[in-house]
């Protein structure tokens, strides 16, 4: 268990590796976490793709043409098709904000839909366990 923000902790989940959990309740619309990113220019993608970082990458940039690694706990939120949070990328600020989509209770795992939009049920590139 590690703690970065006092409001969040990272710990193991039963079936999905590490995950991010709420240490206090969040209201719908609350910012759960604002994280800095490391931007990876698109011309470096070929070197990232064969590495373990590939599964952590966010599309980033005015047209999503670049990639970014989210710091804070931004790389550790698991995917869900019924997520309780979503993320908003700010290219200008080089940040990603994770925002509660509904009220979240203390102890709940915080999840986002990796497709970007909470309702988007397109397959993601791994098997999903809800």
């Amino acid at each position: 268990m590690t703690r970065h923000s006092m409001q969040l902790e990272v710990r193991g989940t039963t079936s999905k590796g590490r995950g991010v959990f709420a240490c206090n309740a969040f209201k719908r619309g609350d910012i759960v976490e604002t994280v800095p990113v490391i931007v990876i220019p698109c011309e470096q993608w070929d070197f990232i793709e064969p590495t373990t970082l590939e599964q952590y990458i966010f599309n980033f940039g005015p047209q999503g043409e670049h990639a970014a690694i989210a710091l804070g706990y931004g790389s550790l939120y698991n995917h869900s098709y019924s997520p309780n949070a979503h993320y908003m990328k700010s290219w200008e600020e080089q940040l990603i904000r994770f925002v509660a989509l509904r009220d979240i209770e203390e102890g709940e795992e915080i999840t986002v839909n990796y497709n970007g939009s909470a309702e988007d049920h397109k397959p993601v590139d791994f098997d999903v366990e809800e």
């Binding site: 590690t2 703690r3 970065h4 923000s5 006092m6 409001q7 990272v10 590490r18 976490e33 604002t34 994280v35 800095p36 490391i38 931007v39 990876i40 220019p41 470096q44 070197f47 990232i48 064969p50 590495t51 373990t52 970082l53 952590y56 690694i69 710091l71 804070g72 706990y73 931004g74 790389s75 550790l76 600020e93 080089q94 940040l95």
Partner: protein
């Protein structure tokens, strides 16, 4: 940059001449853990790929023989280097964590720095020009 959570006692913002840095928003006492960061583990055989990307500047050597790499999460990737640092980093291989620990008292508002050589006293040159 601003807006990252201050609740944990640290914040990320721009420095005058070293890009982003990590700053104390409260006092820390010598020996106190400032932050314990999870890492993304990168096996040694992927090093040659990482070296050709922006991430090369951020990764730490990791593993029992330092043969692997790790990208620290939290704010672990954003501590700047100093040859007279106020913090040290302790790599915890089994737990896949890096602890950042105050090596002297740190006052609110101070930038938190580590020596990229690993040992706080190690004055060996590093791969960029250092502005203290």
């Amino acid at each position: 940059m601003n807006g990252a959570p201050a609740a944990s006692g640290i914040v990320v913002r721009s420095t005058r001449n070293k890009g982003r840095g990590v700053f104390a928003v409260r006092d820390f006492v010598q020996g106190e853990t400032i932050e314990s960061t999870p890492v993304i583990f990168i096996p040694g055989e992927q090093k040659s790929h990482i070296e050709r990307t922006a991430l090369d500047l951020y990764v730490y050597k990791f593993g029992p023989e330092d043969t692997h790499l790790a990208l620290p999460l939290g704010y672990g990737s954003l501590y700047n280097h100093s040859f007279s640092p106020n913090a040290d980093f302790i790599r915890r291989w089994e737990e896949q964590l890096i602890d950042f620990v105050a090596i002297r008292d740190i006052g609110q508002g101070e930038e938190i720095t580590v020596n990229y050589n690993g040992e706080p006293e190690d004055q060996s040159p590093i791969w960029f020009e250092v502005t203290e």
